[in-house]
């Protein structure tokens, strides 16, 4: 494998990160305060959660990850520690796959 695909991926991935940084810095304080850009992350994280849970390639699926997310949601709601949430989700999915 030649190096150019690696370097092309690296350069463009970094360029995208810097693009967001530069655009953010160009916005004046009033604009960014009024538009409270933090809210943009909320729907993106929500999308990430459902995509990592309910999709396999381009298909929508319900598998061991679904009950794992339900367990995680209950624990988050009960204000369980972060590590407990992560371990409980892994254990739920692993056990269900072991049984299945």
């Amino acid at each position: 494998m030649s190096w150019w695909p690696v370097l092309a991926l690296c350069a463009s991935a970094y360029a995208l990160k810097v693009l967001g940084l530069v655009v953010g810095e160009r916005l004046d304080g009033e604009t960014s305060e009024r538009w409270s850009l933090e809210i943009v992350v909320v729907p993106v994280l929500a999308a990430l959660i459902v995509i990592q849970t309910f999709t396999s390639g381009q298909r929508l699926v319900f598998d061991a990850r679904t009950p794992a997310l339900v367990v995680a949601a209950v624990l988050v709601w009960r204000k369980a520690p972060f590590v407990v949430v992560a371990l409980a989700a892994a254990a739920t999915a692993a056990l269900l796959r072991l049984v299945a």
């Binding site: 494998m1 190096w3 150019w4 695909p5 690696v6 991926l9 690296c10 463009s12 991935a13 970094y14 995208l16 990160k17 810097v18 693009l19 967001g20 940084l21 655009v23 953010g24 916005l27 960014s32 009024r34 538009w35 409270s36 850009l37 933090e38 809210i39 943009v40 992350v41 909320v42 729907p43 993106v44 994280l45 929500a46 999308a47 990430l48 959660i49 995509i51 990592q52 849970t53 999709t55 381009q58 929508l60 061991a64 794992a68 997310l69 367990v71 995680a72 949601a73 988050v76 709601w77 972060f82 590590v83 949430v85 992560a86 409980a88 989700a89 892994a90 999915a93 692993a94 056990l95």
Partner: protein
């Protein structure tokens, strides 16, 4: 430091990430990349979903022309993240350039889950250090050791990431505006998954924030509330 919730959370994210990094290393070498090429990808690209997609498409015979567009679409959300982290990505120009490199899902989610700018910066930096170390050590181990290390799915590790992101999203969901934006984002993404290329649904989900942004320009007030701490 073990009593520091931010550090503990960053560390647990690092552990789960390391296992995924091992699978990336294995996949990348299997796809025909050398060990140095695999490690350079993790050091310099440092955006997991893009790297995994890139080497998977090449392994499946899709070629570089087939692999680059989906990888870049997946990396596109990092631009949105960097934009949202205005005020967190601080410091001198070299420091900002360095911090830009570590703008990914985990660092952004950890930063935004904190109540103050100082805590956001600290969470971002600590998560970045844990994540960068884990991702690169894991990649090297996977690239060198190769197959035979088992599938992360067998340990349920694929379920860890949505759980972790949920724990990080929860403190940002104070108030009906944020809740509406979250539900809209999730619905947009699920609707687009069957029809749009990978990466597009997540970027398009950001449109879920548009009604809130428009409403906030009318009201001129910040719609986001914060819980004092994550996971405690």
């Amino acid at each position: 430091m073990s009593n520091d919730p931010i550090f503990r959370n960053a560390l647990s994210i690092g552990v789960a990430t390391a296992v995924y990094a091992v699978s990336f290393g294995v996949l990348s070498v299997a796809a025909g990349f050398s060990v140095p090429q695999t490690c350079v990808m993790s050091l310099v690209c440092f955006t997991g979903a893009s790297q995994l997609t890139f080497v998977s498409v090449i392994a499946a015979g899709g070629g570089v022309a087939g692999a680059l567009p989906p990888a870049l679409l997946l990396a596109g959300r990092n631009a949105l993240y960097a934009l949202s982290l205005k005020g967190v990505l601080s410091g001198s120009a070299p420091k900002r350039a360095l911090r830009a490199q570590v703008v990914v899902d985990e660092t952004t989610a950890m930063a935004h889950a904190q109540p103050t700018v100082a805590a956001k910066r600290r969470a971002f930096d600590l998560t970045a250090v844990c994540l960068f170390t884990a991702w690169n050590v894991g990649t090297l181990v996977g690239a060198v050791a190769g197959r035979g290390l088992g599938n992360p799915r067998d340990y349920g590790l694929d379920a860890v990431f949505p759980a972790v992101f949920l724990a990080l999203l929860a403190p940002q969901l104070r108030g009906p505006d944020a809740m509406r934006a979250a539900v809209a984002g999730a619905l947009i993404a699920l609707a687009l998954v069957p029809i749009a290329p990978a990466g597009v649904p997540i970027i398009a989900a950001s449109l879920g924030a548009v009604p809130v942004l428009l409403a906030s320009t009318r009201r001129r007030r910040a719609p986001l509330g914060h819980a004092p701490e994550v996971g405690r």
